[in-house]
Symmetry: C2
């Protein structure tokens, strides 16, 4: 291959959008957490779906691997190239138009490169809600959210990104444009291609557009932080809250005492809601389509019942939007506090909700046995059975040194997840980071089915090679 490939790229999308200088290319090569930097032949920045299709056709003809990239905020090294330097990075960031909003159908049609925050704002400006919400929302693109089937804090009520998408536009691995931009709640006309591309992390094709579901904007939201004796009580409170508040319960997050301690240590300006520490905390969010009074009533009823039943030890209810934000800020600062504290070994796991307390208890014990004093920073979306189960070294052990045990710790945690019928990647995906873990935890027949699909849709193997499989 000579420069003729790049010359053809330039012809297709313009000189300015074919980046090859090291300084221009560098920002596209490193993963979000800074653990990996790859190399690329070029970064291509097409303007629209037809340019994407033309580029992929060219890449297919010349067998050039394609690494689709959105906001590059993924956590599993899924959107950066390997170090061979053979691949091009295909940045979707210039595809950033909100194509249409249909308030009666409650849908929005968007380019894949739209920033999640901009989509949330566009919905809200029309009195509607796009409920996908996650830490990187100011930088991540909806195409990346779709490619990784992102989760976040609204899944309990509204589902994962998968459930928020009605239709897709995709450039296939052959560079053909599939217009599946249907705004339909029901469509049973053949195989579910949409859900196959969603969560495939760019290994089967390139998502260039989507039809998203919108919801009526709730009239009021209210937040509470409840102090608990244990993870098991957090499960009891979840049941109670769901039975009491039904679909009004839109968020349910768990945080351990250590999480709040870390936040307090590194962000002392954030409020400390309780005078004394408690082993666990649950953050509840209720959203009402009726009134604030309605949400407050349901929340108070939930908390009163929980206190009476001995499930809750104490509770703080936010009485203003500022207070509500402050409670959420504690939750959101946990990963930031962890980062300041030093590198740690992260896991994004899920188990059936009914087994969470047992999982935490048993896995904590296994780790403590292997590394006495090890610190488990456990928090996450309890309502979805999804925990961020992160491991920091015993006090006094240097964080960097502790990273040497990453493989051993992953083995304990992931084997435990498997024993509880769980998933080693609940909401982040596989990427390159967890690829080699997959064969241990997937049945051979499932891996073969996945490989058969990969070979059928990307027979040349040019789409994001080395990710997932």
């Amino acid at each position: 291959m000579t420069d003729s490939f790049l010359a053809q790229c330039r012809e297709l999308i313009g000189d300015a959008h074919v980046l090859t200088d090291d300084a221009d290319v560098a920002p596209y090569l490193s993963d979000w957490r800074g653990r990996y930097t790859g190399r690329a032949r070029a970064v291509l920045r097409p303007a629209d779906a037809s340019q994407v299709a033309a580029l992929v056709r060219l890449c297919a003809a010349q067998r050039v691997p394609v690494v689709p990239q959105g906001g590059r905020t993924g956590l599993v090294i899924g959107s950066v190239p390997d170090d061979s330097g053979r691949a091009v990075v295909l940045s979707l960031r210039r595809l950033n138009r909100i194509r249409a909003v249909d308030p009666v159908n409650r849908t929005m049609t968007v380019d894949a490169g739209c920033i999640l925050y901009d989509i949330q704002q566009a919905a809200s400006s029309q009195g509607m809600l796009f409920p996908l919400s996650l830490a990187a929302e100011g930088s991540c693109t909806i195409g990346g959210n779709l490619a990784t089937n992102a989760g976040g804090t609204g899944v309990l009520r509204y589902g994962n990104t998968r459930e928020l998408c009605l239709g897709l536009e995709v450039v296939t691995a052959q560079g053909e444009l599939w217009d599946g931009l249907r705004g339909l709640r029901k469509d049973n006309t053949g195989y579910d291609l949409r859900d196959l591309y969603i969560g495939a992390e760019g290994t089967l094709g390139v998502i260039t557009g989507a039809v998203l579901k919108l919801f009526p904007q709730p009239k009021a939201g209210i937040t509470a932080l409840v102090a608990l004796r244990s993870c098991r009580d957090a499960l009891g409170l979840l049941q109670l809250a769901q039975d009491t508040a039904g679909p009004t319960l839109t968020g349910y997050e768990l945080m351990s005492e250590l999480c709040l301690r870390l936040v307090g240590k590194h962000f002392p300006d954030l409020p400390q809601p309780f005078p004394t520490p408690h082993p666990q905390y649950a953050l509840l969010e209720l959203s009402s389509h009726e009134s604030e009074q309605h949400a407050v009533g349901l929340l108070e009823r939930t908390i009163e019942s929980a206190l009476e039943a001995g499930l809750a030890q104490d509770a703080v209810v936010a009485t203003s939007i500022a207070q509500s934000r402050a409670l959420w800020a504690i939750r959101e600062h946990i990963p930031l506090a962890q980062a300041v504290d030093g590198k740690n070994i992260k896991h994004d796991i899920s188990v059936p909700i009914s087994r969470i307390a047992d999982f935490v208890e048993q896995t904590d014990a296994l780790l403590a046995q292997a590394w006495p004093g090890v610190q488990v920073v456990c928090f996450g979306h309890l309502g979805d059975g999804n925990l961020h189960y992160n491991i920091a070294p015993p006090a006094g052990t240097p964080h960097e040194a502790f990273l040497a045990y990453q493989g051993d710790i992953n083995r304990i945690v992931h084997d435990s997840v498997a024993a509880f019928g769980g998933s080693i990647s609940a909401e982040h995906g596989i990427g390159a980071l967890k690829r080699d873990e997959l064969p241990r935890y997937k049945a051979q027949v499932e891996l073969e089915l996945m490989r058969a699909i990969k070979a059928a849709l990307d027979p040349l193997g040019i789409m994001n090679p080395g990710k997932i499989l």
Copy 2:
């Protein structure tokens, strides 16, 4: 092929469960609406998933086509064999165990042959709701619901069967058993095989088990029938109801004046809710997790606003469970009244909700132009954009004779659906009935992707041949 194939089947599952006598086989060969009768080499009735796997392995080895069958209530000739007599019918009806209920995870694990009604009852007996509900629920199996991604009357709030399933157990076309019975709300570890098998109508493999989502049982439900001037007003009322009642609105059905007239004619014992006829009617159902008073309050507020805004002309609110059932009975008797009235030409279509009124107006006009006096029996799940748009002959024209125009009428209706960005099968599937319509309405690239997947997962082409593709 000789009888050795059947002898091997008998060895695998027992003589009593390999049916070959005409009288035994006959009930498995005809489609639900009695339009088609195929032939089969035998009917196989395995007892469990491992017997299914053994049978499929045998069929694959001997290239015997396999037609999976559940309750045989499908509407698109998808679960009966063709007339070659080469295929075996694989009846899943003996796989009818409810394997487990997990009230904390809110999941139920079931065999594919469980009757939908039994699943609803098993959930309800534990104070939970499995919200899939449709006319055939007393006979259809969950495996068939999954294979066709069935819809029904609860989709507005709870989604299609696809959204109600967390995990699957599938026998592949090679006769391997894939255990994907995960009870996880979040799992991003590779391609979404689950959603590929759901809606594939048995053409990629055989669903033998599933993990289903359960919901807290609402404490109260309330129903109202609202008289409307037009389909457009029905859309306005839908918006108003969603904004007022939020997730409490769990059902929204449309019925035209002709629908109620037909029901009144053939089922005169059913109530006639209004003294004078109105062009359209909307059936609303609200379900509250709080109290009956809460549901009534929201419904009254919705109806008052609709009357004030001139959207509603009149309304009847059910004040007892018996009255609520009577209102639903009107809706449920429409297809029965149609059947008594004579054969008609049925369509199961969806369009974006915002375009429904225009679609109905324009398609009605096109049909009236081609067949003056033609009668459109239009009703369905307006909240999902899904209508049953059925065509009966002009008064005086014999129904049977009118069926000769089926092809021409389908063309007008389906072309109109396509022009409005809709689907020619919203909730019934493709089967053999609509297979030849598909190439007209699917882009070539989408058909090629579907064929590539079929070839990858069922390279011998033995799974339910002649259906979908």
